[in-house]
Structures are given as C-alpha cells and as structure tokens.
C-alpha cells in the first residue's frame, strides 16, 4: 500500500509539473506577439534582443569549440572501425548525417541548457526571493509576458541558429580529419557530404532544436518561479533546472527520433 501510494504520489506530481509547464507555455505563446518589434509593446523587443545576445552570441564560441571536438571525435571513432573494411570514405556520411540529424541539435541543446537554462532559473529565482515578481503582479504586469516571453522568443530564434552553426563546425572538423588521413580536399569533401545528407535530415534536426528550446526555457523559468525561501533555494533551482531540462531534452529526443524513424521508414 505504501509503495502504491508513493508511486501514485510520484505520478500525480509528475503530471501536475507537466501540466504547469504546458500552462506556462500557453501563456508565453499568447504573449509572444507583444515581444515582436513594431506590432509589440514598446521596448519589449529590446529585452528579447538582449536575451538573444546572451543565449546566442555569447554561447557561440563554446558551441563552436565543442562541435569541432565532437566532429573530430566522431570522425576518428568511426574512422578507426571503417578503415578496417577499407570504407574510410563513409566517415563523411557518418559525420554529415550524424551531426545534422542528431549531434548538432542535441549538443547545442545541452550546452544552452547548462549555460542559459541555469541562468534563467537563477535570475527568476532571485526575483522571486526579492519579491520582484510579486511587485510586478501588484502593478498589474504579467511576469510571464515581461520576463519569460522575451526569453522564449529569443531561444526559439537563437537555438536553431546555434544548431546550424554546430552542424557546420562539426562537419568542418570531419573535413580536417579526412584531409589528414586521405588528403581529400575541402571542396571534394563538401560535395560528398552534401550528396549524402538530405534536406529532411537538416529539417528534422532543426525541428528538434525548436522542441529543445521550448523545454529549456520553460523548465528553467518554471524552476525559478517555484523558488520559495532564500539563497539556497535559488541555488537548488538552478541545479534542478539544468537536471530536469537535460533529462526532458533527452527524453524528447528519443521520442521524436522514434517518430521520425517510423514516419521515414522507406
């Protein structure tokens, strides 16, 4: 009975958490037109721009370095196996398809999650502790519109861009590997890679990156909004924001990859 209760409790908590995420997501979606320039509320797009710089521009160097490393590792690992069959040229397929479909979006999501997801939780958590969120509510200003939505809009624009950058850097790292091992020139390499990847590989990758962006922003902000108490609660919220969004990103990745696999069987 006790175990049943515990399981039931866990399920209810998980469902109410998901429900909260969906409600928050819905409020953000409804508020998002007000963040756009010209049609939106004055000055609000500037907040979104600042967030884009924080998530995208500031995150780019890290994404570039990690993608180059990951691309090189992928090429070396697959190369060491494929070489035994005299099929080293397939490294180009592995890197090209691997990055556009999977590694680019996932790596980007995980890095943004660690860099910006924790920052969202900490920022909003601190605003909860210092009553800034309460102050907004008492001024008849919706904190979701003012604080969360610019972050969401910024993430929806920058995370796919970062994913494209990650794909590019990963594939270029593969080119370096191929040049060192087989002296294939960059133009040959690129021609080969472009032949092997299809548009739908890139598009499913980008679609996944949009889903990851939604998860990272919503979980990060939600953890911040759940902060009650003091500085230690802010710290915990940053940790649980990163842990939960990483977990949900990988879960969503598995789910959507399975769907794409089933849809694109032929």
């Amino acid at each position: 009975m006790n175990m049943l209760e515990a399981i039931g409790d866990g399920v209810i908590q998980g469902l109410s958490y998901l429900g909260g995420l969906v409600m928050q997501f819905w409020s953000e979606l409804r508020a998002s037109p007000r963040v756009l320039p010209v049609v939106g509320k004055r000055g609000r797009w500037k907040t979104a721009m600042r967030q884009m710089v924080a998530i995208g521009v500031d995150g780019l160097p890290l994404i570039a370095i990690m993608s180059v490393c990951a691309g090189f590792i992928l090429a070396m690992q697959s190369g060491s196996e494929l070489r035994r069959f005299g099929a080293l040229q397939y490294v180009m397929d592995v890197v090209g398809i691997g990055f556009t479909r999977e590694i680019g979006p996932l790596l980007t999501a995980l890095i943004v999650c660690g860099r910006s997801g924790s920052a969202f939780s900490a920022e909003i958590g601190t605003m909860m502790v210092t009553s800034e969120i309460d102050a907004m509510k008492t001024m008849a200003i919706d904190p979701i519109e003012l604080v969360l939505t610019p972050k969401y809009v910024a993430a929806m624009i920058t995370i796919p861009c970062l994913t494209i950058m990650s794909n590019t850097f990963g594939i270029l790292a593969g080119a370096v590997f191929m040049y060192i091992t087989t002296k294939i020139s960059l133009s040959m390499y690129l021609r080969y890679v472009f032949n092997s990847i299809e548009l739908h590989d890139v598009l499913t990758g980008l679609l996944k990156s949009l889903i990851f962006a939604t998860i990272i922003v919503n979980v990060g902000c939600m953890e911040g909004l759940r902060v009650r108490g003091g500085a230690d609660a802010v710290g915990r919220s940053a940790t649980s924001g990163v842990v939960r969004s990483t977990y949900l990103v990988i879960l969503a990745d598995a789910f959507f990859t399975a769907i794409f696999y089933l849809v694109h069987k032929d």
Binding site: R42, G43, E132, D134, A135, K137, T138, M139, A140, I141
Partner: protein, 269 residues
C-alpha cells in the same frame, strides 16, 4: 458610514493544515491610515498578501472598491491593481534597472504617455520622496532608507487610491524611520490616499494611524482608534504596548527535553 474601500470578510488561510489566519474581518474606510499591528508570525504579512491579491484564501472574501478580488475578471483585477500601490518590505526594486527606470516602469508599461511626460512624472515622484538627485543610481547603490523611499515612489507612480506598506520602518534607524512616517502622512494629506501599513513598530504606528488593528495568532483581537487601542484591557495588547517579553522557556517541557538529551531520564527515576 460610506462603503469601505477595502473589506475583508471571514478571511481564513491554511498552509499544510496549519491555520495562519482564522476568520479575520476588517473594513478600511476611504482616506484613512489603517495600521495592522502584530508580532512576528501573527499572520500580518499573510493578511497583506491576501489583501493585495497575491494569494488565494482558503475561505472568506477580500473586496476592494466593492469587487471581490478572487472572483472577478482579469480586467477588473487589473483595474484594481492599477489603483493600488504596494511598497514591499524588501523594497523589491528591479535590480537590473536604475532607480529612475524603476519608478517609470509602471508608467511605461501601463500607460501610453509620451517620453517627456514620463520623464517629468518620474522626476516629480522622485522629488516627492527626496531622491531627486539619485535617479541615475542603481538599486544596489542605495542605502536601506533610500531603497524604501524609492519603493514608495514606485508604488505611487500611477497615483493610486490605495497605498499598501509592508514593514516600512523595519531595519531602519529611528531618524530615517521617522522620515518615512512623515512621508506617509504627507501622501495621505496631499493625495487623500487610503493607506494600509503593516508594522510592529509601536512609535511609528501611533504617529501615523487613524485606526489600528492587532493580529494575534491569526485572529484580530482589536480594531479601533488610537485612544481606544491604548485603553484596551486585552492582555496581549497590554503586553505588546508595555513591551513585556514572553517567557522564553516553557520550563517543564524544556527541562524534560534537556534531561532526555543529556541521557538523564533513566537516572532520575
């Protein structure tokens, strides 16, 4: 008597089975300064958070200008919130904005006034609380008293009918606290605002109040004018006014527990 601007009826609040407020009823008239007194943990901040509509009560209603704030539409709630300014205990200034931008934040968000008008309004609000020269500073650069005054300026930015203060003098030296008291009286006189102040500072309460209410363990034990309040025979009020401490140790239970901790329970018997 005219219809009260704020009326609380049977407000009951429970957190995790613990009753924090027990059927509290209070009416605040237009244009008066009502001071809500109470010790730490008496439920006064909880009551304030319900009056400003930040939390939903377990039972009871809160009406502001005759509208039930927990049962009204989003539009009505917005109108009520625009008519109500709140100065929080921690000031709650937005740390990422300068003092000036903190003050004009509600004006920019809620009105369509032109920038020069907003600038003038901001300067006037800052001047009214004596911070005319500090507009460019960031909240972190302000002292405790200045922060509170800035919070008042922000709360009054849209000329609200009702002004709510949570612990205006907590953590301030007596001179700065007295300055805030004068500011509250000035706002009442100059703008005919209805002001609700939550505090445990007696001197300040008697200086500014038209009427006082006292909360003890989640119930209102007295509501009345200053004179009526000072003459009230209720032991808790007497204790509060005379600054008598509670006994620190509930001796029997504490003694037993200390013996247990020291492993002496067995030895005694």
């Amino acid at each position: 008597m005219a219809e009260p601007i704020i009326s609380v009826e049977g407000l009951t609040v429970e957190y995790e089975g613990k009753r924090v407020l027990d059927s509290v009823s209070l009416e605040i008239q237009r244009g008066e300064v009502m001071v809500l007194l109470g010790g730490s943990g008496s439920g006064k901040t909880t009551m304030l958070r319900h009056i400003i509509g930040l939390e939903r009560p377990t039972a009871g209603t809160v009406r502001v200008r005759g509208v039930d704030i927990n049962g009204c539409s989003a539009e009505e709630l917005k109108a009520i919130r625009c008519a109500m300014g709140v100065a929080f205990q921690e000031a709650a200034l937005f740390n990422s904005l300068s003092v000036e931008d903190n003050i004009n934040f509600p004006i920019r968000e809620l009105t369509t006034l032109a920038d020069p008008v907003i600038e003038i309004m901001t300067y006037m609000k800052l001047a009214a609380v004596g911070l005319a020269e500090s507009g460019n500073l960031m909240p972190q650069e302000l002292s405790g008293g200045m922060k509170k005054r800035a919070a008042v300026a922000r709360a009054t930015a849209l000329d609200p009918e009702i002004l709510v203060f949570d612990e205006p003098s907590a953590g301030l030296d007596p001179i700065v606290a007295a300055g805030l008291d004068e500011l509250i009286l000035f706002l009442k006189k100059a703008f005919q605002m209805t002001i609700l102040v939550v505090t445990h500072e007696l001197a300040s309460a008697f200086r500014i109040a038209d009427r006082l209410a006292m909360l003890y363990r989640g119930s209102l034990i007295a509501v009345g004018t200053k004179d009526a309040f000072q003459a009230d025979p209720h032991p808790r009020i007497r204790q509060f006014l005379d600054r008598q401490p509670d006994p620190i140790t509930q001796s029997a239970a504490v003694q037993t527990r200390i013996r247990e901790l020291a492993g002496l329970t067995g030895a005694k018997t």
